[in-house]
Amino acid sequence: MRIFMNLCKDKLAIASLVFIAVLITAGLFAPVFAPHNPEEVNMSLRYAGPSWEYILGNDHLGRCILSRIIYGIRPSVLWVFAALFISVLIGSILGFLAGYFRGKNDAFIMKLCDVLLSFPGYVMALALVGLLGVGLENILIAFILIKWAWFARVIRTSVMQYAELDYIKFAKASGISHGKIIWKHIVPVTFSDIAVISSSSMGTMILQISGFSFLGLGVQAPQAEWGMMLNEAREVMFTRPELMLAPGLAIVLVVMALNFLSDSLQVALDPRLLNSNKGNQVMAPVSKIKIQEKEVPN
């Protein structure tokens, strides 16, 4: 509750939260919100500009861009989010095990991660899609199988810097169970790191899905997907650059909202970053090492 109250003080956070909520609702109930059928071809409206009936205009087949954007939320945002969530979950569980218990667990999990990370990501995904067959689900499965290793590695490092602190030692000495220690003491402090790495890899993942769709391995042609729409617009990039705007902005806005939200969440969670009413405190960084927002190697 306190966290939510803190979050409410941040206008940007609220805006991002509302934006993401609206997006998710629109995606879930796409048939209700979309004004037209996204796959309805209408050649007479080819490259038509925005009008009252077609607010964002029409694409090269005369399809309603707004409807396609709304229908595209499902594969581009919701499914990517689900895949991201699962891979972060696997990565966190293994990362926590490795970073907290150390020893043999740690060595084994990290060697496994090293092996997985030493494969080139795209090739692995291609191989998995080759095995499982073409389709969005299979690409997402491939992503989950590849990406967890990277998350596990980063989360382990983050856990390790807290696992040796005195308050953890105290909890251990007082006989509090490992599960409780991890849940009450380590998850909250590492959450900000996890949120930052997840939100920063969300954008790359959306673009990667579109890359696979471009190769004809992901979302199949008539179905709407943001990355595919970008690719379709790419063909007429110089004659009709405005077609890139809607899907491009959609991706940028989603990634931005997620980044803002994860930043604000970090501040809302950490009492040290809030201006306490008991006087001005020196602001301290949340974690000693700031995880670099580098691209997920894939």
């Binding site: 030692k169 251990k172 000495a173 007082s174 006989g175 009492p271 040290r272 006087g279």
Partner: protein
């Protein structure tokens, strides 16, 4: 009550497949009675903090046993509510996301009291360690080192344990605060009849609070002496260590 029986501990120094180890503790045995306060004095690097970690069961010895009331201390349920600890670094000894109240509640909750009793006990604890009850809503970063250490002591005694380990608990405080905290500990010991195990490099602090002192060197016990007989220590190292400080 607490019996440490020829414990040994070594750490790996090489990588995953390396067999190289460095022995930190070489067969240490001692015991601590109920209500006794025992000092463990040694230079840094002598292995006394490792010994501390074994005593509170965070790590397991390679050989030998640590028994608390005839039960192995590595078992979590043996420690629960019986053992507690206060550590050196006051900056990291309380979860930064916890208020003082929540931090103390962590161990207070082990006593299965009603909500009302817990609140009363919380206030009593804070007053006992010399803090105002208004500190309950503060976060650790809003407190000074001495105050945090007092909260840690309150947290340690909240579950009314039988034994508390102090691992360099006062070394990071300045001298005037040190004496305050030591006096507080003496008082609390009389109220709750707790055993203290006091790991420190500060002989004066140890002499002030302990009944018995173990002089520790290179993973071995050099000498055990009653605090009143400190000036009569026999071993050369203990003499040297005592001679390095102001005469008693």
């Amino acid at each position: 009550m607490l019996i440490v029986n020829s414990v040994e501990k070594s750490y790996k120094t090489g990588g995953l497949f390396s067999k190289k180890t460095q022995k930190i503790l070489k067969g240490v045995s001692f015991d601590c009675q109920r209500g006794e306060s025992l000092g463990i004095i040694g230079e840094s690097g002598s292995g006394k903090s490792t010994l501390g970690r074994l005593i509170v069961g965070i790590e397991k010895p390679e050989a030998g046993t640590v028994l608390f009331e005839q039960k192995n201390i590595a078992d979590r349920s043996v420690r629960l509510g019986n053992i507690s600890a206060v550590f050196q670094d006051y900056k990291s000894s309380i979860n930064p996301f916890y208020t003082v109240e929540k931090a103390i509640m962590e161990t207070l909750i082990l006593q299965n009291k009603s909500r009302k009793e817990m609140q009363a006990k919380m206030d009593q604890l804070l007053i006992q360690v010399g803090l105002d009850t208004s500190y309950k809503t503060n976060y650790p970063h809003e407190l000074s080192g001495g105050e945090v250490q007092r909260v840690c002591i309150a947290r340690a005694i909240a579950a009314e344990p039988k034994c508390i380990l102090f691992d360099e608990a006062i070394s990071s405080l300045d001298v005037s605060v040190q004496t305050q905290v030591l006096d507080l500990l003496k008082e609390l010991k009389q109220i709750y009849n707790i055993s203290y195990i006091f790991i420190t490099h500060d002989i004066q602090a140890a002499a002030y609070i302990c009944d018995r002192v173990i002089i520790f060197r290179d993973g071995q016990i050099e000498e055990t002496a009653d605090v009143h007989q400190l000036r009569h220590v026999r071993s050369a190292y203990a003499k040297k260590l005592l001679g390095a400080i102001i005469p008693f």
